[in-house]
C-alpha cells in the first residue's frame, strides 16, 4: 500500500517536471525541472529494488549530465529576446500525437488486464552492485567492452568536428 502511494506521488512529480522542461522558455527553469525529473526517476528505480541503477541515475544524470547542460546554457548565453515561446504548427502537433501513440500504446496494453503479468519473484541480491557486476563481466562482457570504443569514438569525433584548427 505504501509502495503504491509512493509510486503515484513520484510518478506525478516526474510527469509534472517533464512538462516543466518542455513548456518553460527560460532554459535554466527547464534544466531545473530536468534535475527534479531525474531525481524522481531515481526514486522510482529504488522503489523497483534496483538500488544500483538509482544511485547511478543520481550520480551520472542528475550530477554529471546536468552540469554539462548548465555549462552549455551558460556558453550559449542566449539573449532573452531569442527565447520566444514556440508556436505549435499543425504538422508538429500531428507528429507529436503519433509519437505519443507509439510510446503510450504498448504501455497502456501492458497496464490493461489482458497484458499484465504476475510479478516475478526477485532473486537474492537483485539489483545490487554484485548482481549487476556479475552480469556485466560474464554474459555481457563483450558489449560492455565495446562500449568503451563507442565513448572513444564520440570523444575523437567531437574533437574532429569542433576543433578550431585541425
Amino acid at each position: 500500500m505504501l509502495e503504491a502511494i509512493l509510486f503515484y506521488i513520484l510518478a506525478a512529480v516526474l510527469l509534472g517536471m517533464g512538462l516543466l522542461v518542455i513548456t518553460r522558455t527560460n532554459p535554466i527553469a527547464s534544466a531545473l525541472g530536468l534535475v527534479a525529473a531525474f531525481a524522481a526517476l531515481a526514486a522510482l528505480y529504488a522503489l523497483l529494488s534496483a538500488s544500483l541503477v538509482a544511485i547511478i541515475q543520481v550520480l551520472v544524470y542528475a550530477g554529471g549530465i546536468m552540469v554539462l547542460m548548465i555549462f552549455v546554457i551558460m556558453l550559449l548565453n542566449l539573449h532573452p529576446d531569442d527565447l520566444k515561446p514556440m508556436k505549435a504548427q499543425g504538422l508538429t502537433v500531428v507528429s507529436a500525437l503519433m509519437g505519443a501513440l507509439v510510446v503510450l500504446g504498448p504501455v497502456i496494453w501492458v497496464l490493461s488486464p489482458a497484458g499484465s503479468q504476475p510479478p516475478a519473484a526477485l532473486t537474492a541480491g537483485f539489483g545490487d552492485i554484485f548482481a549487476v557486476g556479475d552480469k556485466m563481466f560474464t554474459g555481457y562482457l563483450f558489449p560492455f567492452e565495446m562500449l568503451s570504443l563507442v565513448l572513444l569514438t564520440a570523444i575523437v569525433g567531437a574533437l574532429v568536428l569542433a576543433k578550431r584548427k585541425l
Binding site: 507509439v102 496494453w109 501492458v110 497484458g115 563483450f142 570504443l149 569514438t153 575523437v156 569525433g157 574532429v160
Partner: protein, 476 residues
Amino acid sequence: MDTFPIELTALLPLWIVVGGALALLLLEALLGEEGRKASPVLAGTILVLALGCVFHLLSLKGMPGSLFQGAVVVDLYSLTLEGICLLSALLTCVFSASYLRRERAVTGEYYALILLAVSGMFTLALASDFLTFFVGLELMSLAAYVLAGYLRVQERSTEAALKYFMLGVFASGFLLYGIALLYGASGVLHFPDLRHFLEQGRYSSPLVEAGAALLLVGLGFKVALVPFHGWAPDVYDGAPAPVAALLSTGVKTAAFGAFTRLFAEAFGLPGNWVPAFAVLAVLTMTLGNLGALGQESVKRMLAYSSVAQAGYLMVGLSAASLAPADDLERAVAFYLLAYTLMTAGAFGWIAWAAGKGETGTGFEDYRGLGLKCPWMAFMMALFMFSLAGMTPTAGFFGKYYLFKLALDHGLLGLVLVAVLNSFVSAYYYLRVVVFLYMKPVEGKETAGLPAPLDLRVAFLLCGLGVLAAGFLKFPF
C-alpha cells in the same frame, strides 16, 4: 593456435582493427607530422592484415560458433560480412589518400575513424544478441556521422553530417524502443533464445509484433529503405566521395547483414513478414529508380541507385520467413559483395574524376572522357554495366541469386516488379557510358586527368572482382 583462448583467435580480425585504430590515434600524438604521413599506409596494412585473418578463419574446417556466452557468433556468414566490410574500408582508404591530398584536407584522425567504423561493422556482423547489435550499430554510426562531415569547411559536407546524425539518432530511438518491448515481452536478449521463445507460441502479446515493427522501422532508416530514405541522397551526395563509398557499401553491408540475421534467425517464423517486406521492397526499388532517372549529377544518381539496390536486397529478404536461414544469408552476402565492388568503385571513380572541390559531378562533365582516359573510363563503364545487372558481371549474378531465392518461395509478382525495375535502371546507368564514349567533346580540348598508381591498382582489383565474382564457386 590451440594454446590461445578461442575468444582471442576467432575474433582476431576485430582485435587487429581495434588495436590498429588505437595505434593510429596515438601515432600522431607520438610522431607528429611524420605519423600523419604514415597513417594511410598503416591503415591499409592493418586492413590487409585483418583481411588475411578473415581468409584464414574461413579456410578452417569447423567454425568457432557462439562466443562470450552467446553475445557474438563467428560463422561463415559473419566472417564473409567481415571480409566485405574490410574490402569496402580498404577501397575507401585508397580513394581517400589521393582525395585528401587534392582537397588539402588534414588527415588527422580520418583513418582512425575509418577503423573505428570498421570495428563497429564487425560487432554488428558478429552480433547474436540485441545488446551487442545495438552497441555495434552505434559505434559504426557515430564514426560514420563524423566522417560524413569531415570536410567541415564545405557547407555540403557539414549539412550531410547534420542530416545523417539527426535521422540516425531518431532511428536509434526506434530501434532501442523496439528492443525494450521485445525484452519486456520475452525476457531474453539472445537471438536464438528469442526464436525459441516465439516457437513455443506461449506469447499472446502484441508487444512482440510492435517491437519487431519498430525494429523494422529503425533498420529501415539505417539502410535507407523507402519511406525512410529521405536522408540518403543528401548524405551520399554531400559527404566527401570516398566517405560516400564507405557509407553506401561498408556501413550498409553491416547493417543489412545484421538485419538479415535478425529476421532470419530471431524472427524466423513462417509467413509472418512477407507482406511488410514485399511492400518495402516494391516502394524502395521503384522510388529509388524514379529518383535516379531525373538526376543531372552522377554522384546524386549513384545515391538514388544505392537506395534502389537496397530494394533488390529486400526482394530476397521477403523470403526471410520462408527460406532456410543459410540460403538467404548466402544470397544476401553474395549480393552485398557484388554491390560493394561496383558501388565503392563508382563512388571512388567520382572522387577521382570530379576534380578539386568535387565541382565536376554532372553527366556533362564526363563528356568524351573515354578517349582522354581510356583505362579509367573503361572501369567506370564496367561498374555501370554491373550495377545495371548485365550478364557477365557480378551485379547480374547477385540479382540472379536473390531473385531465384524469392521465386523458389513463390514470390513471382515481386520478382517481376524487380526485373522491370532493373530494366528501368539500365537507362540511367548506361547514360553514363553514353556520355563517356559517344558524346563528342565540345569547345577546347582539355588534358586528361592524371591517375595515380594506387588508384589504378584499386580500380583494377575492383574491375577484376566485378568480372570474376560471378564465376566463383557459389559463395562460401
